[in-house]
């Protein structure tokens, strides 16, 4: 891409830095859409669609975990997940901004991913009260265990909802009170930073991306087929 921005006093304009790559942004909004769709299909008893929605969500989360290990720099867990010392220094304002999640937001990412994996797992083993609708892995457990899984699947959704609410409130706080355009950044992938300009995001290769997509799809397919090839 060529730079077509006219040269207007660059010193006064904060530099626009690439923060999120396409896969990370796509994962984020797919999770939003799929969680909403999963909720709606469950509420209205469209269980065939609910299963498909769950499988897709599981695939997306598996990809995100892979991308957290092998993806672009700002998507990597090793880059943005910090211990309590860094988090507390961030809260005290003693942290230099780098593109990507801040140390506190990192907790939100990890908690949401962990909860989505847990939620999907219980869904895979869940059985409805009539023994008619069920997750593919319920074939390996008793009716009672399947019912317990379904009950956890319902309860964890409440925890997930609470965490999503917290996430949205926190993001709105940053946008409204700290004037950090987090939502826009998650849409177009860039953020404006005033001097000193932080180091830009390091993109992962397309080969890595394709490998991740194939891996996540294959793994999800295998699970959805109850490990039968």
């Amino acid at each position: 891409m060529t730079d077509t921005v006219p040269p207007v006093s660059p010193a006064r304009l904060p530099a626009r830095v690439r923060v999120w790559d396409v896969p990370t942004r796509l994962v984020h909004w797919l999770v939003v859409a799929l969680v909403a769709f999963s909720w709606w299909t469950a509420e209205t008893g469209r269980m065939e669609w609910h299963r498909w929605s769950g499988y897709t969500l599981l695939g997306v989360v598996i990809f995100r975990i892979y991308w957290g290990l092998a993806g672009s720099s700002t998507a990597r867990f090793g880059q943005f997940v910090h211990g309590p010392r860094v988090i507390s220094s961030y809260l005290k304002g003693g942290w230099t901004a780098v593109p990507g999640h801040n140390p506190l937001g990192a907790l939100s990412v990890i908690a949401l991913l962990a909860l989505l994996v847990t939620q999907a797992t219980f869904g895979l083993f869940a059985v409805d009260v009539d023994g008619i609708e069920s997750g593919p892995l319920s074939t390996y457990v008793s009716f009672e265990t399947g019912r317990a899984a379904a009950s956890w699947h319902e309860d964890i959704f409440d925890v997930l909802s609470a965490l999503i609410l917290l996430h949205v409130v926190a993001v709105l706080y940053y946008v409204l009170f700290r004037k950090e355009a987090l939502i826009a950044a998650m849409l177009h992938g860039e953020r404006a930073y005033s001097e000193p300009q932080p180091p830009p995001m390091q993109s992962a290769s397309v080969v890595r991306l394709l490998l991740g997509v194939v891996l996540a799809t294959a793994l999800t397919w295998w699970v959805a087929r109850a490990f039968q090839l």
């Binding site: 059985v127 009539d130 023994g131 008619i132 609708e133 069920s134 319920s138 074939t139 009716f143 399947g146």
Partner: protein, 153 residues
Amino acid sequence: MPRSLFRTLGSAVLVASLIAVAYAATPKETQHARHEHYEELGKAFKAIRDQSSAGSPDFAALQKNAEVVNEASVDQQQWFPKGTGPEAGKTRALPEIWTKPADFEAAQKMFSDRAPKLLAAVKAKDVDAVKAAFKETGGACKNCHDTFRGPEE
């Protein structure tokens, strides 16, 4: 003589009604038994689903469970005597069962019409037919539940 006959008859009636009362289930007991029956049915459905999606289905197990479903599809027509609705205690059985008896019977009949087809498919050892009949029979369950069963909790 007629007086003692009366007495004999009278005590016989009394004893019979005492026995009847002792053996007749209370509405609460009927609700409980109904719940147990449906749980058995749920387990049978799960077993059929598990076996029909397994690599090599166990047709003996399939048949055993398809028979449970088939019998229940007829028996359930006796599981909802009057007075065993929400007025008798906590139940998901809605009052419509007793206020719209014709609709309820039609919904129950859908189940008893479809369950034999599931059993037939199992006996024919045709896994694809079993899966299709399972869907059909499950549809009959859902059809009735949509109108006559209340939400959980």
